[in-house]
Symmetry: C2
């Protein structure tokens, strides 16, 4: 099937290269973060490092810790605090993934079996709690109440966003504003916090902190919108998850919000049956993708993603140009053009 929004092979390849350049730029720091993560997964309860290690080592993009590392470096920070704090961010992210996979009953993440699929829901819930606690222990050891405030606020907002997402699940009357509020909380809040921390460790003034917060928030929203589009278009091997997961779960995402807003009666009945009643039959995913194309829903979602990407770029305008700033700008391109 040809999609209205086709991912241009060249853009995607360029985007992957820009992501890899960024990873290269912070490779030394990132290796240290990985070491901190591994060290702090240790527990006398052997299932904890086993289960958490499964997810941590499954090859995530490490975008959130990379944000902390890169923003700190862009701000000229030369100490070591950003390493531990990037690990905190990764711990919080991993905890939310463990709980997400339980809540969504997911079997596959990043192309591997989820922890809940391997070990069951119970240890996934509890190991998530452990990782969350570890994040706070690391922050306490770092000793900054400002960082603790940023990340405890973000954690509360993420949980609110997750509950909110559960509320709009299967609700085909969800509008764009309600959806944007959900993803601002469940996804973008941690991008924002991760980026803001870079300015905090570098002791930058409040306006620079706010600018990096805006950068992270806008990037996070763009990232999530592209995720929503990829769920209806990605090649499974690239995304490491099954195409159509959101559809089968009755998840409301922006492409669907647009398609429903533009639906005729017959189409509305289709969305009601599939998303609201979760009565999904053979051929329904193909029809959903056809309707998304007919109503330009994926293309328009990509346009919204690009708007937020532009806001992210603009938020960096006040910072002196250096390789880290370039990398953060390229990261915006990656988030929009990525195929994984």
């Amino acid at each position: 099937m040809k999609l209205a929004v086709s991912f241009d092979g060249q853009n995607a390849s360029a985007s992957r290269q820009s992501y890899e350049r960024l990873r290269e730029l912070v490779a030394g720091d990132l290796n240290k973060v990985n070491q901190v993560v591994v060290d702090h997964l240790q527990s006398s309860v052997t299932l904890i490092p086993q289960l958490a290690g499964h997810l941590v080592s499954s090859g995530g993009k490490r975008l959130r810790p990379i944000l902390t590392l890169t923003t700190a470096r862009m701000c000229g920070y030369e100490g070591g605090r950003h390493i531990d704090l990037a690990a905190c961010v990764e711990f919080i992210h991993t905890a939310t993934l463990l709980h997400d996979d339980v809540v969504d009953d997911s079997a596959l993440r990043r192309g591997s079996a989820t922890a809940n699929a391997v070990w069951g829901n119970k240890p996934s819930v509890l190991v998530g709690d452990f990782l969350f606690s570890r994040a706070f222990q690391l922050m306490v050891a770092d000793g900054s109440l400002e960082v603790l405030k940023i990340l405890s606020d973000a954690s509360a907002v993420i949980a609110e966003g997750e509950v909110d997402q559960l509320m709009i699940s299967n609700d085909i009357t969800t509008d764009e504003a309600a959806y944007m509020q959900v993803i601002g909380a469940k996804t973008a809040a941690l991008f924002a916090a991760a980026s803001e921390i870079g300015a905090v460790v570098a002791d930058r003034d409040p306006s620079d902190q706010a600018a990096l917060r805006t950068y992270g928030m806008s990037l996070g929203i763009a990232f999530q919108l592209v995720d929503d589009v990829l769920d209806y278009s990605a090649r499974e091997a690239d995304l490491g998850k099954t195409v159509g997961d959101d559809f089968r779960d009755g998840k409301i995402t922006l492409p669907v919000v647009y398609a429903i807003a533009r639906a005729n009666d017959d189409e509305r009945q289709f969305w009601k049956r599939t998303l609201e009643d979760e009565d999904v039959r053979d051929g329904d995913l193909a029809r959903a993708m056809e309707l998304l194309e007919r109503h330009d829903a994926l293309a328009d979602t990509m346009a919204r993603a690009r708007d937020h990407a532009n806001e992210a770029r603009e938020a960096l305008a006040g910072f002196t140009a250096n390789p880290y700033r370039d990398a953060l700008l390229e990261l915006v391109d990656f988030c929009v053009d990525r195929e994984f």
Copy 2:
């Protein structure tokens, strides 16, 4: 059925009175804690206060926040920080209850339907995360890194204990030492932290902090052991949960550890079938209770509880006598003699 360890009606009634005197003594503070809890449950996502409020208002004993309030007062503290910190302790406790009930698939707590039974597992997991985050936001607002360290350490240990408990579940080879490690972590760590915080806000020296930590730890272990005994003997209406829950869940508790250690081959087969294979048939609970009686398993567990209760009392020896110290001593009696 008559149990080897019968709860003496007079003791139980005296114990309930001593608990009620303690609640009366800190009633003013406790009302303020309840207000802080209610205020901080607020969220634009309406399910959050609804679900969390269901549990918070279901009439728990509030033992953990009462520990913070009473230890602070015993140490002569006259400020207001102990109110917010007691609320933090209650938030962390409530978060673990929500996750526990999901992990145990419980339908009843304190005589009411559990949150997961009413709203399902998904929001229970996520609202637990929210409450946990709220606890840390409150601690950050309080501003003490020392308190943050005590409670983030406790949270990590609790999660480890919960995973550990899952590991020994259905494992009839579990010995007393392994079991004591589990309950030291999953239950007593929060009692210890809640009590220690009282000394911290009152700015007492490290030895007083350590003494209150020991008090809480010993009290928590005694409390949990009595809980284990009550599960095989309590009147349902008093405990607000079903008698025999632990048995039907294949949970290993100290009474069962003792009974298995003293079992003949035939009895061992019974424990293997019921606890390990979870093949529980009509009449099995009655037989389990009979075996616990035959081997003095409940009486010996109560003896261990009394040992720890004595340690808790001794930990208070260094503090000047005052009504709060008396109340903390009475609380030990309550925890051992309670029927609920």
